[in-house]
């Protein structure tokens, strides 16, 4: 990548590492670095979930011509904080008939899986905790473990609603996982790498959504549909269809345990959106138009981290928009959509994109 004027985090990160290495023994320096990264990541996760829940409620309210939360803090900004404190102070209730061990284990599995994915996301230039060489495949791999948390949590409660919800959820998530992986592979064919930093670097002269022609668009549309389904959000929220299944797989969970499922759900929404932003929209790269030097320079003034979060916010906005636009699907429609439409289209699209790559019909 050529020397660019982007705001680079790596000097700051290196500085911290060097000063730690200078003042402590290697073991302690590493421990402190880990603690720093850990605290930052946990705070970031908590903050992003709190903001996402607030935004979700506001978006839902505006779609229904309401005001949404307004009482706690200015414009209800502290509403989710208050909710969290309330959930924290709730009694731990476990059903008499439940399998208590699995019941308590499920939140651990689902949140850990979300954290494993969160760490591999490139937030900005130099702000990338874990740049593994199989980046994309790693993220899809660790997020595939999260479904077990849902299945076990739903089963352990010994509740009919939660078991039906968990089974639907499981069938849905594993089915749509295929579509997510295959649609991302369409871009991997063009980029020639799975490493997220290299995928971003390959978009220096234009995002794949523009460079990849029709096949990138097909892949992106499939990715959005499958991503919405993967995060169990409306119109694919039949696993927690309130009107029929109370709350789906987490019906039996209350208080802080419920909050953990909530956390994991919004974290996976964030992960899906940032993967989409990274693969299709160039991650933290600013928006450039061909040879418009002046325009490109103005765009460069906006720091990469703003670009990244802007793109993520855009994708999350579209996913939230989905929820209030389409009616909920039935389980049979859901599976037909995946296996009879998305999967064959995906396979066809992969052939199309490899043909495009073969002929060099991309920029």
């Amino acid at each position: 990548m050529e020397e660019s004027g982007y705001f680079d985090f790596s000097p700051i990160v290196n500085n911290i590492h060097e000063s730690l290495a200078a003042s402590f023994s290697p073991g302690w320096a590493m421990a402190i670095a880990w603690a720093l990264i850990g605290i930052t990541l946990i705070l970031f996760a908590a903050l992003s979930v709190i903001i996402l829940v607030y935004v979700e409620r506001k978006v839902a309210a505006f779609f229904q011509v309401r005001l949404g939360p307004m009482r706690v803090g200015p414009w209800g900004l502290l509403q989710t904080v208050a909710d969290f404190i309330k959930l924290l102070m709730k009694e731990h209730i476990t059903s008499r008939n439940a399998d208590k061990f699995l019941f308590n284990l499920a939140p651990f599995i689902i949140v850990t899986a979300a954290f494993l994915g969160l760490g591999a996301i490139p937030f900005a230039l130099g702000l990338h905790i874990f740049d593994i060489n199989i980046g994309l495949f790693y993220i899809t791999a660790v997020s595939s473990v999260g479904v077990l948390g849902i299945l076990l949590g739903g089963w352990a409660g010994n509740n009919k609603y939660s078991l039906i919800g968990a089974l639907r959820s499981g069938a849905q998530i594993v089915s749509y996982e295929l579509s997510i992986t295959l649609s991302l592979l369409a871009v991997v064919v063009l980029a020639g790498s799975l490493q997220l930093s290299e995928i971003i670097a390959s978009q220096e002269n234009g995002w794949w959504i523009f460079k990849g022609h029709i096949s990138a668009w097909i892949a992106f549309v499939i990715f959005m549909i499958a991503g919405t389904a993967e995060t169990n959000r409306g119109p694919f929220d039949l696993a927690e269809a309130e009107s029929e299944l109370t709350a789906g797989f987490h019906t039996e969970y209350s208080g802080i345990k419920f909050a953990m499922f909530f956390l994991a759900e919004y974290l996976s929404l964030f992960i899906i959106a940032s993967v989409g932003a990274t693969v299709f929209f160039g991650g933290w790269l600013p928006f450039h138009i061909g040879t418009w030097q002046a325009f490109n320079h103005i765009m460069d003034y906006i720091p990469p981290i703003v670009w990244f979060f802007g793109k993520v916010a855009g994708i999350i906005g579209i996913i939230m928009w989905f929820k209030w636009t389409f009616p909920r699907l039935r389980i049979d429609q859901l599976l037909i959509l995946e296996w009879k439409y998305l999967l064959p289209i995906n396979l066809f699209n992969l052939i199309l994109v490899s043909f495009i790559a073969l002929m060099g019909w991309y920029f």
Partner: protein
Amino acid sequence: MGNEAIILFIILGLVLVGGAFAMSYLVSPKNVTPLKEETYECGIETMGSSWIQFKVGYYLFAMLFLIFDVETIFIVPWAVVMKKVGLVAFIEILIFFLILGLGLLYAWKKRALRWE
């Protein structure tokens, strides 16, 4: 960071959930009554266990998922080198997809993709 970051993320997940549970345990009331321990279903007493036999459809889709999952594993390395290898890779994946497409077509014709 290298692969040791994975350990860090696992620790983070466990610490976050464990810490939240512990914190909640300190501040939450503990007043368990038999009624609270009831299964949360519909207000009347729960009839029987919900751990009963389920329909085979879920298993079938899990099986199909597994097969296509294995297929994806083989497509991933292909996708990375597709541009480098060129025509040969294109022809090879064409054959690969043709055979798998046959499988999907079989499932379709056998109505395995239908939810009954």
